[in-house]
């Protein structure tokens, strides 16, 4: 059965690491050379945040009340919109086909691709979140929690979104379908992330929620890449 899972005992120890780092380097390079795509999710995040004061009114009390939820919901949507690009270009130019063939085991490559994608979307989003928090009058002592929850939560969003992107990679209009499939799976991350910030603004200790997020991240890291790898094989069949 070992060949099925793809672990080859005879391979040297550094083999998996070489695969992983090589894929990571390649994806990061490709992303850096097309910086427009890097900025788009961030722009979306800021524009989306800015819509709320215009919609709900500029009152600091109202905005501070909804800040935690809005900051997290828009992070969810920004990551989701960026997900479609994770495999799209590789699929269009045929690289994904090669990736599927030569990457053995496939989940290592998937993990590297997801990490690269997160470094280009989730991490910058975490870094500009304080600016958005400022616009929504989030109390300054909650900003650290906001960043910590985003740091723990956005990788989960990238992992789950990557699975959805793999399933829909060969579909012309996969974007809306991707949202339909993946958003329900994002619910726990949203509740824990936004919950932690609300708890902090109420003056309580958010340790429980943060530990929850960390646990979800550990679980997603270990399980989701396998599902994504399987989804990629299936998605490429059509």
């Amino acid at each position: 059965m070992s060949t099925l899972v793809g672990t080859d005992d005879s391979a040297p120890q550094g083999h998996l690491w070489r695969l992983f780092s090589g894929q990571l380097r390649r994806d990061l390079l490709a992303a850096v050379r097309a910086p427009g795509e890097l900025v788009n999710p961030l722009m979306f995040y800021l524009i989306g945040i800015a819509l709320f004061p215009m919609g709900v009114g500029p009152g600091p009390n109202t905005l501070a009340l909804i800040a935690a939820g809005v900051l997290w919901v828009l992070a969810l949507l920004a990551i989701l919109l960026a997900m479609d690009g994770m495999f799209r270009r590789d699929y269009d130019d045929g690289t994904l086909e090669q990736f599927n063939l030569h990457m053995q085991p496939l989940f290592v490559g998937v993990l590297a691709k997801t990490l690269a994608h997160w470094l280009m979307t989730g991490l910058p989003l975490t870094l500009i979140a304080p600016l958005a928090a400022l616009w929504l009058y989030l109390p300054s002592h909650a900003v650290g929690t906001l960043m910590l929850t985003l740091l723990l939560g956005t990788p989960v969003l990238s992992l789950l979104g990557g699975m959805g992107a793999a399933l829909t990679v060969s579909l012309r209009r996969g974007g809306l379908l991707l949202a339909l499939m993946i958003l329900p799976l994002y619910v726990p991350v949203l509740i824990m992330g936004a919950g932690a910030i609300t708890v902090v603004t109420d003056g309580l200790d958010p340790a429980a929620q943060i530990k929850w997020l960390a646990a979800i991240l550990a679980l997603a890291c270990t399980l989701v890449p396998f599902a994504t790898a399987a989804a990629l094989r299936i998605g490429m069949e059509q």
Binding site: M163, L171, P184, P188, G195, I234, G235
Partner: protein, 257 residues
């Protein structure tokens, strides 16, 4: 026992065998299901004593609880069928996922709707964002996702495997969703049935409920099997046994040529 299971397992690989065996199951399950539902409803609605707090409005429990239980069971069924499809490539599992998804979505919607109607006399509002309601709503969205994914992919085999993956991931996510929404302060009462303890209601109340639950499950299995039989005929319509079956029965009325 073990060899018997193994034989059954191999037989399940044959749609033709299942087509026949399912018919005999339906012959029993459908009457049992309908009988139990009718008996449970009549007993529960007309003869069970009213609740000391909720009065007669509690009687919607006889629709609400069975459909809510089914809503979750059906998704778990889909997840398990997904594992079977991906590991053993059993065609039947794919058909089960396909047929079960809309049925599961219907029962989830029924549970939400009956819960909303129940909410008016007890909570004074149609909708409450409490833990169980929210988890149920997310479950409905998960069903929608599976159905939408199936419709989006043209190639049937691919669609089946893709839905299987989504069903498995959803099945793993359901407990996480449930626990995370439980962090909200909850208005909802606890589970009516537990495996570990006797229900906190008098037997005149929970026995009819148990009967409706059994009826709902039997009804679901009967409907699922009938749907799978139709799916078998559609997918195997080029095989000899199907054409022989059709020739035997004469031209099926309304059958697409």
């Amino acid at each position: 026992m073990w060899t018997w299971i193994k034989q059954l397992w191999h037989k399940l690989g044959s749609p033709r065998w299942f087509y026949d065996i399912a018919a005999s199951w339906i012959r029993w399950l459908l009457p049992i299901g309908i009988l139990c539902i009718v008996a449970g409803f009549v007993w529960g609605l007309a003869f069970a004593p009213p609740d000391y707090q909720q009065g007669n409005s509690f009687r919607i429990i006889y629709v609400h609880v069975p459909s809510a239980m089914l809503a979750q069971s059906i998704f778990i069924t889909m997840g398990i069928a997904g594992v079977i499809l991906l590991v053993w490539r059993m065609k039947l599992a794919d058909m089960v996922i396909k047929i079960a998804a809309p049925i599961g979505a219907s029962f989830t919607a029924l549970a939400l709707a009956s819960g909303a109607i129940w909410g008016v006399p007890t909570w004074g509002t149609w909708w409450v964002w409490d833990a169980r309601t929210t988890a149920m709503l997310v479950l409905l969205f998960l069903y929608f996702g599976v159905i939408a994914l199936r419709q989006a992919i043209a190639r049937e085999e691919t669609a089946g495997k893709a839905c299987a993956i989504l069903a498995i991931v959803g099945m793993i996510d359901i407990p996480i969703i449930k626990y995370s929404v439980n962090w909200w302060l909850t208005l909802h009462q606890g589970a009516t049935f537990r495996l570990t303890a006797a229900p906190a209601m008098p037997p005149e109340m929970w026995i009819p409920l148990l009967i409706t639950v059994i009826g709902f499950y039997a009804f679901f299995v009967a409907v699922l099997f009938q749907g799978v039989r139709g799916e078998i005929l559609r997918r195997e319509h080029r095989t000899r046994w199907v054409s022989e079956l059709v020739a035997q029965r004469g031209a099926l009325p309304g059958a697409a040529s």
